[in-house]
Symmetry: C2
Subunit: 286 residues, 2 copies
C-alpha cells in the first residue's frame, strides 16, 4: 500500500499519531523535498522516527516513480508530504500511477496552509481561489496570478498568495554546460511578494488593488513562532524584519469582509490608525 | 494559555503528536461538540487521553466563555476542535475574548475538510468559496448558497458544499413550553444536499447548474472508510447507500477543470460512459 502522509506545517511533532505509527512500521519512507519544507531538517525527522528517510526530489517523483512504488503491492511504502498530501498536483499524480499498478492508496491528512491561514482571523469561507507568486527574473514575470486575484476581488473574496519556494533549482549556466549544479534554496518574503504584486498592477493598470489595499503578511503559520503583520500592500513591502524567517505568505483582503474578521485582523496592524482609516473609507461600507 | 487544538477529521489517532502532548498535561480539556463531529465518541477520546474531557456546547462557548477561560492566564486550558481550530467563526471569537483578558492563545492546526477534500482528485487551487447547506423546512429554505455558487461558477471554479450537521438542536415545540429538550442528531446526506440544490435551481432558474452538472459526493473524508462517488447532481440524489454513513459533503465541478483532475475523478464515476459524455460535451472544451 502507498501511504501519502501529511506532516503538517512546522516541526517533527506536527505529524498525527496515526501517521507516525505508519511511518514507524513501513518498508521505506520517502520525503517530498521540493513542493514545500518543514522548519526542521531531514535529520531531525530521521532521529524522531528512529529510521532513515529517503529524500525525493522533483526528478525522482516525476521520472522515477516506479522506484518509489516498488513492492508497494505487498508492503507499506510511505511518501511524506509537508502540509496536506493533496496540496500539490504531483501527489495526485503519484496516487494515480499507483492505482494504475493496482497498488492501494491511502492518505493521512494534515494541516495545510490553505486552512491554517485561518489563524489570522479571516474566515476561510470568505476566501476565493489560492494563487502562487513565483520569483520574477529580468525576462520572466509570470502574472497569471493577477487575473485570478481580479476574479476574487470582483466577488469580494480574500486571496491567499503563496510565496515562492525554490529548492534544488538547477543553475542555468551550469546546466547549459551539461553540469547539474543547484542554486542555494530561496524563499520569497512577504515584502518581495507585495512588491511584485504592485509592480504588475502598475503595468496592467486594471485597478485590481492599489498600494493602499489592506493585506496581512504571515510567517511560519502553524508554528510556535507564527507571526502576522497587517497593513497596506505598500507597508508590507518593507516589513520583512517584523515577520522574520521563512516561510511567508500573504492575504489580500476582500471587500466582503465581516466586521468580526476586521476586529481580529486589526490586532496585527503595524499602524492601527491608518488601518482603521482605510477600513472605514474603503471596506466597511461594502 | 488557551490552546486551540485541532483533532483532524476521523478518529482519536488523528490528533498530532504536539496536540496530544498538550492535552495530556493541560489543566482542563474542553471539546467543541457542536460545529462538527469526529467518527468516534467522547468516551473513546477520554480513554485515549487518559483524562476527562468536558463537552462544550454552543451555549457554553457563546454565553459562558469565562468559565472556559478561567485560570488560563497561568494554566494551560485546551479547547479541542474537530478539523482545524479556525474552521468555524466561534473559535476566532473565543480566541479574541481570551486575548482581551490578556490570555495568550496558541493553536495547533490539523486537517480540515477544506484541504482534505483534495483527496477526490480536484486541485485545491481551483476551488472558489466554500458554502454550507442547511436542512430545509417547510417554512425555511435559506438559499444564500445559490448566489455564492453562481459566483464560483461564473469564474469556472469548483465549489465545496458542506452538508448540515445538527447536534443538540432544541426541540422547538418544547422550547416554546420552556423545556429544553433536544432533537436527536441529524447529518445531511449527499442525496439530500443535491436534491435541495436542484430544488433551489428550479425555483430561481438562473441556470447556475442543472440536473446534469457533474459533481462528486464525499463521505467520511480522511478516514479509512473514505468514499467518493462521482456523477451528475441528479444521480447523486439517490446514491447515499453507495456513500454510506455520515459525514457527507459534495463538490460541484467548475468548468475550468484540468484534464488531470478529470482523469482522477472519473475513477469514482457511478456511470463512466455518461460521465465521459457530459465531460466531453460540457466541460472539456472550456
Amino acid at each position: 500500500m502507498l501511504h501519502l502522509v501529511g506532516l503538517g506545517l512546522s516541526d517533527e511533532t506536527d505529524i498525527t499519531v496515526k501517521g507516525l505509527d505508519i511511518v514507524k512500521r513501513a518498508e521505506r519512507v520517502y520525503l517530498d523535498a521540493y513542493t514545500s519544507i518543514l522548519l526542521v531538517d531531514q535529520s531531525v525527522l530521521e532521529q524522531y522516527y528512529g529510521r532513515p528517510v529517503i529524500l525525493a526530489d522533483r526528478e525522482m517523483v516525476e521520472s522515477n516513480s516506479d522506484e518509489i512504488l516498488r513492492g508497494a503491492q505487498h508492503k507499506d511504502i510511505v511518501f511524506l508530504v509537508v502540509g496536506d498530501p493533496f496540496g500539490a498536483t504531483t501527489h495526485s499524480d503519484l496516487a494515480l500511477r499507483a492505482k494504475q499498478q493496482s497498488i492501494e492508496v491511502r492518505s493521512v491528512p494534515n494541516a495545510s496552509i490553505l486552512s491554517a491561514i485561518g489563524a489570522c482571523g479571516l474566515q476561510l469561507y470568505n476566501f476565493g481561489q489560492t494563487v502562487s507568486m513565483v520569483f520574477f527574473t529580468d525576462t520572466w514575470k509570470p502574472s497569471s496570478f493577477y487575473h485570478r486575484i481580479k476574479e476574487n476581488v470582483s466577488i469580494g473574496l480574500h486571496t491567499l498568495v503563496l510565496a515562492d519556494i525554490q529548492v534544488k533549482e538547477p543553475n542555468l549556466e551550469n546546466l547549459a554546460r551539461g553540469r547539474k549544479i543547484y542554486e542555494p534554496p530561496r524563499y520569497m518574503t512577504v515584502g518581495q511578494c507585495a512588491s511584485q504584486m504592485l509592480q504588475v498592477e502598475q503595468e496592467r493598470k486594471e485597478a485590481v488593488y492599489t498600494a493602499k489595499s489592506l493585506a496581512i503578511g504571515a510567517a511560519r503559520v502553524g508554528s510556535k513562532t507564527e507571526k502576522f503583520v497587517a497593513g497596506t500592500l505598500q507597508q508590507l513591502c518593507s516589513l520583512d524584519s517584523e515577520l522574520g524567517p521563512p516561510l511567508h505568505s500573504l492575504v489580500l483582503l476582500g471587500r466582503r469582509i465581516h466586521v468580526l474578521e476586521h476586529d481580529f485582523a486589526r490586532q496585527f496592524a503595524i499602524d492601527q490608525s491608518e488601518w482603521d482609516a482605510i477600513w472605514k473609507a474603503d471596506y466597511a461600507k461594502q
